[in-house]
Symmetry: C2
Subunit: 279 residues, 2 copies
């Protein structure tokens, strides 16, 4: 489903910025690069966030981060110099908890230790679904077998995947992401996981609902062509890719996803947006 544009239909980047009412930013690879400790802020990004906040545009942050609670990684971003608060940030875990409540499900968790606190208060007895996140070192043979055993024992197995990333880069090398282990469990149990997080349209829509805006009034800026840019476009938003984070030159020749614009970094994107709106 691709929702038709209305007043932005033929406004290409950066002209479309004139009609915008809100901007959604990805975090890792746009605001900062992850790594040892807190990682490092991408030059100019903190100032760019500040400029957006001083403008008349609404601002939200949409991330597939699942290695820590919202409070923890927002605190990290604040230490890196960003003006950001927990209520502005949309990661998959709280969205997953809302789905569990809605459907009366009790999860078995295959997630990072840092995420467990998000699920305090969620009934996990006698689980009737599995939630898989970027569990990193917790992706042991034993833990995979446990999650599999829960799923295969259910009459109607339900698997929620917090994102569907393939891999990401850390200072000591490439690391496999949640999507890879989701595919493993999908094959083992002959099922299809429900993705909660980007690029799920439901997930983007929850951010739009919070802003009270229509998709054609909002621009997504991210470093992941498929999950950020393509996901946002699929919902009817514009999507701009930054040449930071996991950006690769081959993204600009991708067979199916074409960004509305490609910029060197967030600072450049924000300057282009705001200069359009001053005209």
């Amino acid at each position: 489903m691709r929702i038709p544009f209305s007043n932005m239909a033929d406004a290409s980047w950066p002209e479309c910025a004139k009609c915008l009412k809100g901007v959604i930013l990805d975090l890792c690879g746009v605001l900062y690069d992850s790594g040892e400790g807190d990682g490092v802020a991408i030059p100019g990004s903190a100032a760019a966030v500040k400029k957006l906040k001083e403008s008349d545009l609404q601002l939200r942050f949409c991330t597939n981060e699942t290695q820590a609670t919202r409070e923890k990684f927002v605190a990290k971003l604040q230490r890196l110099g960003f003006d950001i608060s927990v209520s502005e940030v949309f990661p998959p875990a709280p969205a997953a908890i809302a789905v569990l409540k809605e459907r009366g499900l009790r999860p078995h968790l295959l997630v990072h230790n840092g995420l467990l606190n998000e699920f305090v208060g969620v009934d996990q007895t006698n689980p009737n679904c599995v939630i898989i996140g970027d569990a990193a070192e917790n992706f042991s043979y034993k833990n995979l077998n446990e999650a599999f055993t829960v799923l295969i024992g259910l009459e109607k197995p339900v698997l929620f995947s917090l994102g569907q990333g393939r891999y990401y880069k850390e200072t000591d090398g490439l690391k496999l992401d949640v999507g890879v282990y989701t595919k493993a469990l999908e094959y083992a149990c002959d099922l299809k996981a429900e993705v909660i997080g980007k690029p799920s349209p439901t997930f983007f829509q929850s951010v739009l609902n919070d802003m009270g805006l229509q998709p054609n009034e909002v621009l997504m800026i991210g470093d992941d062509l498929v999950n950020d840019v393509g996901g946002a476009q699929h919902c009817g938003m514009k999507g701009v890719q930054v040449r930071t984070g996991k950006y690769r030159p081959s993204d600009e020749k991708h067979p199916t996803v074409k960004a509305d614009g490609t910029v060197d970094n967030l600072a450049q994107a924000v300057d282009m947006i705001l200069s359009q709106r001053r005209r």
Copy 2:
């Protein structure tokens, strides 16, 4: 590709036994059940193997076992009372080594510690492919990342999967099999693995070559409907399923694979084959 039958075209089970010149048996789930120590022989199987050996039929054993060297698991079967020798057994590892030689490839191994001795003498420096077997506890996050890093660093990544099983049963519960982790690496690297082992036609053909027989002269007996029975049928052999090992009643209503016959166990299959041949 389904090779047409010739003289066995309309001979259904067990009548087809009259024209047979050879039988191929799966090991685990047909001869014995795995578990603590050596596992246990399935009642009547040792005697059934003996009867086949005393007949005019050729006999081979075709297995996706990759947790031990051929010598080790043949010794185990001998301890369980089976008349079986190493030269009669076809597991994936030696077939993989033949492929490596043929194509000048040097593997990075993600396999069970018990299998490493099969690869002594195989050049593993500066690897240009990955071989994945049923690595069990060796399927750690660290080891998966290592195999992934090798693959993603190759210009043309090559992944060999020793079988494509989903899971198997041990005394302490269900265990994820190699196919599950193959799917994980396939997704991570956006590639398709080459399967060495059942149900690969090349693998079955190597057994037929060793027997010097045509597919329509040979019957495969296994507990795995898709990999044993379906794989053999795909090569033009007949395939009979035993109701031991990983057999499940739902196999008899499988949407795509229909065994030529289903029997309670190997002993019954062999009695039916031999009684047909006596007529």
